[in-house]
């Protein structure tokens, strides 16, 4: 199977865009450089956007409890956070399993 190595970095870029897009945060237009975005940056930025979305849903939840917010807003905010979280966790698991596979490679 001839998959060019640059496909991996393209996947990083896609995942980064997906997760930061899921939370509605605008990613500072980051052109993938020759090496592409690295994994640490991906996890870092994705985590930040998930945390950001989590704050929004927390706020909606608190407003809900104090009787101010609407149920719909709360459910929407929590759903968005959940989707962002799912994407992040899935991509992380996949990348880590790929890493482990590489480490198991007999040299």
């Amino acid at each position: 199977m001839a998959v060019p190595f640059s496909a991996a970095s393209a996947a990083y870029g896609q995942a980064q865009k997906l997760i930061s897009g899921t939370t509605g945060l605008s990613n500072p237009a980051e052109k993938p450089t020759a090496g592409g975005p690295d994994f640490a940056a991906l996890v870092n930025e994705s985590l930040n956007s998930v945390v950001e979305a989590g704050k929004t849903s927390d706020k909606a939840g608190l407003e809900m409890i104090s009787g101010k917010g609407s149920v719909v807003d709360m459910v929407t905010a929590v759903s968005e956070t959940e989707l962002a979280m799912q994407s992040l966790v899935t991509v992380r698991d996949k990348v880590i399993s790929a890493y482990e596979e590489i480490m198991r490679m007999p040299i």
Partner: protein, 137 residues
């Protein structure tokens, strides 16, 4: 923002609109017997919710919201109750033009539309989840 998230937001706007409609129906039903206080005074007039489509530039999608609340201009019901404080010279009291049957059907319609929007949200979440499941396999 991905199309999935837009779908969630559009469906949420539908939920909000139907919730507002439900409020108007509740107002109508609760005031079905609200007469005037002085002789010949007009009673509660039934309100009719309207919906309008609008483009939400924040989510970049066509959403729905409740438009102006209109009044139902049909005639009031007249009942002969000479002892009522709101009775006119002939003993007739004007009662609101609220028909509980119509309100019940409106309520059912609001409920069904609400459910439809909830289904959109559920399906959207399922689609995202199933797509992510490809990576989990």
């Amino acid at each position: 923002m991905s199309d999935f998230l837009k779908s969630l937001n559009v469906a949420a706007s539908g939920l909000d609109a139907q919730a507002a409609r439900m409020r108007v129906i509740a107002e109508n039903l609760a005031n079905a017997d609200s007469t005037g206080k002085t002789p010949g005074a007009d009673p509660y007039r039934r309100r009719v919710p309207t919906f309008e489509s609008f483009f939400n530039s924040g989510t970049d999608a066509q959403e729905v919201r409740m438009g102006k609340l209109m009044y139902d201009l049909s005639d009031f019901e007249q009942r002969y109750e000479p002892g009522h404080p709101a009775a006119d010279a002939n003993g007739y009291v004007k009662y609101p033009n609220v028909n509980p049957l119509i309100e019940a059907m409106d309520m059912r319609s609001a409920q069904r539309t609400y459910e439809a929007n909830l289904n959109v949200i559920t399906s959207t979440r399922q689609m995202v989840g199933q797509t992510l499941d490809i990576l989990r396999g």
